[in-house]
């Protein structure tokens, strides 16, 4: 079990709900992955349209915790207003806070992120900030009231995996008691396993599953990788070494020369 803001979740895999070929495939992916948290968003609704209600019904059927995001927001004001609208729609104080600073890399604006995190925390939100692996930024976010951090593995949608192992390892080592979710940039289950082996508490991904040829199978693949990585972390892995060390005992070997 892992807990975020006091809510215990059985799975350490979080899944996004965007880009699936159909609602049915989305549902299959969630079922096979066992994911306990789903990210969602808010977008403009046309007058007679009831697309929002249809999507809401689908998410409700999944029986998961809902984590609304502020995806696409570039300013503090935009992110705060979006979070407030999402809180009313999804009836949760959780928000995956994104304040984007660059259009090509979708990397967070660290200054806006800290400011928005402070405003939202004071307004009663429980903030999951989408951040980089920067340690000082992480500390500022904690000072702003965040109790969970979501460092990126790589830019959103790239599937590059963990591009700064050193930075992520440092972050984990320096903040051992903060629940941390590697969010964004994962493309393969092995990359998710790697994050979990390093001691991260969970991973969040979307594109790697939704854009796979068989999203439901990939979702299960990621779920198994996350479990495997977590087990390995808890099992206290051996230290790597440069020279070989025989695993079979030498004592008692027959002398045949």
């Amino acid at each position: 079990m892992v807990a975020f803001y006091g809510a215990e979740v059985s799975s350490r895999l979080m899944l996004g709900t965007a880009q699936y070929p159909s609602p049915a495939v989305l549902e299959q992916a969630f079922r096979r992955s066992g994911a306990g948290i789903a990210t969602v968003s808010v977008r403009r609704e046309a007058g007679q349209d009831r697309a929002g209600a249809a999507f809401w019904d689908l998410v409700a059927q999944l029986g998961v915790h809902v984590l609304p995001n502020t995806a696409g927001c570039y300013s503090v004001r935009e992110a705060v207003t979006t979070a407030q609208m999402a809180r009313e729609l999804f009836d949760t104080s959780w928000v995956k806070l994104e304040v984007i600073g660059h259009a090509d890399t979708l990397q967070p604006d660290p200054f806006g992120l800290v400011e928005a995190a402070r405003i939202l925390t004071e307004d009663g939100f429980e903030v999951f900030p989408y951040t980089t692996e920067d340690l000082v930024l992480a500390e500022r976010l904690l000072e702003a009231g965040c109790k969970v951090l979501m460092p990126w593995g790589a830019p959103i949608g790239t599937g590059l995996g963990l591009t700064n192992i050193y930075g992520l390892r440092t972050l984990r080592a320096q903040l051992p008691d903060i629940p941390m979710v590697v969010d964004a940039g994962l493309g393969l289950p092995s990359q998710a396993a790697q994050a979990m082996e390093m001691g991260f508490d969970a991973v969040l991904l979307n594109t790697a599953v939704a854009k796979a040829g068989d999203p439901a199978a990939m979702a299960e693949g990621f779920a198994r990788a996350v479990e495997a990585g977590r087990l390995a972390f808890e099992a206290d892995p051996m230290e790597p070494r440069d020279m070989a060390a025989p695993s079979t005992p030498l004592i008692g070997k027959a002398f045949l020369e």
């Binding site: 996004g16 969602v40 403009r44 609704e45 929002g52 609304p68 979006t82 609208m85």
Partner: protein, 65 residues
């Protein structure tokens, strides 16, 4: 009066936000609103009057990552 609804100009006759939503076809819909970039909770729609040129955003739950 003319207002902007999700970025497009609309002519509306109502002034209170809840009445404007009804007029635009959102009656009973699961939506959240912001006026001039400020969130307006559902509980305050009836007492929130719109003015000429106001920018109204109307959003609903959607897929997200």
């Amino acid at each position: 009066m003319k207002i902007y609804v999700n970025g497009e100009r609309h002519e509306v006759s109502a002034t209170a936000l809840d009445a404007v939503l009804d007029e635009l076809g959102y009656g009973g819909a699961k939506v959240a609103t912001a006026v001039n970039e400020t969130f307006v909770p559902a509980s305050l729609r009836a007492q929130t009057d719109l003015a000429e040129g106001d920018r109204l955003e109307i959003v609903a739950p959607r897929q997200g990552g």
